[in-house]
Amino acid sequence: MAQVTLRKVVKKYDEVLAVRGIDLDISDKEFIVLVGPSGCGKSTTLRMIAGLEEISGGDIAIGGHVVNDVPPKDRDIAMVFQNYALYPHMNVYENMSFGLKLKKTPKDVIDQRVKQAAQILDITELLDRKPKQLSGGQRQRVAMGRAIVRDPKVFLFDEPLSNLDAKLRVQMRTEIKKVHQKVRTTTVYVTHDQVEAMTLADRVVVMNGGLIEQVGSPNDLYHSPATKFVAGFIGSPAMNFISCQLEQAAGALRVRLNDTLSFPVPADRTARYTAHVGKPSLMLGLRPEHITETKPHTESNQHDFDMLIDVVEPMGMETLVYFTVNGREICGRVNPNAGAEAAQSMTLRADLSNMHLIDDSTGKVL
């Protein structure tokens, strides 16, 4: 069991900085997900932890020992690759036992560990098969089995589900979570899928442009994003951003979107926001679920407004409505029975208690 520590870790490819000095503490038994758009440095970071990429600067420690110059095999890690990387000429049993055999583990111990891992992953009946005889999901299980039998200090997953179809991906996601609950090994998991990140992680690390934007629990990131990037990246459909101004009138603050549309700022935020009154380049961030149809009972900080609906997308359990404010397309989530229709006016309700105020010039959430 081990914690993983990254200190000012830098990765340079010739002149390109892929990772620009990141600090991260991963505690023992924790499930950490690195998430971000392609090219954000998440896979590079994982590969540096694995020892598959040399680090250009900083320190990486596993279990308290700096491993900068330690080869992958001596780092006591196991990795699951996107394309599974199963040895095609070996059957499942041989694939899973390969690492142990190289370590000259006694045969009976190998046998016991492989069978135990096969049981955890429900692949006992596949042990004699070759990888090409397996489906995508089964291959993924074998790849995980190969990692589990080695009983490593750290599991590393590099986008393990992106080769699977949507349905299988959801299934395997649950599977991975179950396995982690059983074996409790420190896990670093890389994905570009924010849903995967949210559902799997104890803590999510959002990366962008070679830097860490924010580290936090899935709920933290969702409800209290630190930056506009995180606010926009986490959540689907993405958070709405509307340019706005902060006005002070009669001791109360108002967010003004345009001449006709403005909302009072919730009282508990007045103190926090007062300093930003009159600032240019402010943005109101509001998630689609906080723009709903109007309801009979009004709670505090909820305000109704009328809008011309451009597009209606029924999703079954909810309906997405799109309308335009200040030239930007805004998304709301309404009840399927609320009677939303395209090209018709509709009374919507904004729940300002969940609003975010963003300084667009710095990208910071205020």
Partner: protein, 302 residues
């Protein structure tokens, strides 16, 4: 009812059948040309076979070359009872097998290093290997003569006129090409496979022997067949560097011992050529599938 359905089906068939009609014509043309090429390329070996079954008298009578009036195995009996033919055969066999082993040992390891271990200049070196293959062997006679003389002066080892010298010489032709095939083949193996092996604790050598060689086996077999064919059929180097009858390999031996002055012993020459062509033919026949898989693998998987 059923009759109507069949009739309708038949009448609409030309509309839907244009694809299959195109295909039929394409196949007809393919077969036409394939048969043409087969005839063209099979004519010499068939001629060899027919001639090898004729007596010298019948050959020199120069009647219809495609017809045998008195078939005989005398040429085969004569040739196989001559000790020197068996010596040529033995020399060729030992040389070819040694060259195959030597070539594969060098080129598999070289290709693995060039394809997988990123080191300074590896790309240039890989191109360099290919460029050596482009130099015609005929250009290398004189430098090789010079080198042999130097080796003789310096170390007192006489390399001229020994069949085993061919074991050192042929790899200069076979190693570059075999390495090139293997680089292509190794490059088509996903990088994650060696990374997985690396994390599993394998050394470079274990990654090569336990992962790469088994996975690239079709490519290795293709390179082996190629090397064997080149070594078995090599003519110029042994012609230039060996002279004594006991040191000759098969292709040179047949020509130099069965052509005496202006007397051509055609029956035995053809028999010898046919027997000489047999080993590669047998190897091809058994390993053809691997050979094709190996040669095309880099192109489609890359």
């Amino acid at each position: 009812m059923a009759n109507t359905a069949v009739a309708t089906g038949a009448s609409t068939r030309p509309n839907y059948g244009s694809m299959s009609r195109d295909r039929t014509w394409a196949l007809r043309w393919s077969y036409f040309f394939l048969v043409l090429f087969a005839i063209f390329f099979l004519m010499p070996p068939i001629y060899m076979l027919i001639t090898s079954l004729k007596t010298s008298a019948e050959i020199s009578a120069a009647k219809n070359p495609w017809f045998i009036s008195n078939p005989t195995l005398q040429n085969y009996i004569d040739l196989l009872s001559q000790n020197q033919f068996l010596v040529f055969f033995r020399n060729s066999a030992i040389v070819s097998i040694c060259v195959v082993i030597l070539t594969m040992l060098i080129s598999v390891i070289a290709a693995f290093a060039l394809a997988r271990m990123k080191f300074w200049g590896s790309a240039t070196l890989a191109t360099g290997v290919f460029l050596t293959y482009l130099i015609p062997e005929t250009l290398l006679f004189i430098p090789l003569f010079k080198m042999f003389a130097w080796v003789n002066e310096t170390f007192g080892i006489q390399l001229m006129n020994h069949w085993w010298t061919m074991i050192i010489l042929y790899p200069t032709l076979t190693v570059p090409f075999a390495t090139w095939i293997m680089i292509g083949y190794f490059a088509s193996i996903p990088k994650e496979l060696d990374e997985a092996a690396l994390i599993d604790g394998a050394t470079w050598m274990q990654t090569l022997t336990k992962i790469f060689i088994p996975v690239a086996l079709p490519g290795i077999i293709a390179a082996t067949i190629f090397t064997f064919t080149v070594a078995w059929a090599q003519f110029l180097y042994p012609l230039a560097f060996t002279t004594s009858t006991s040191e000759l390999v098969l292709p040179v031996g047949i020509i130099t011992t069965l052509i005496k002055g202006d007397v051509f012993n055609w029956g035995q020459i053809m028999t010898g050529a046919l027997l000489g062509a047999a080993p590669p033919l047998i190897i091809y026949a058994f390993l053809m599938d691997y050979y094709i898989a190996g040669l095309t693998a880099g192109a489609t998987k890359g």
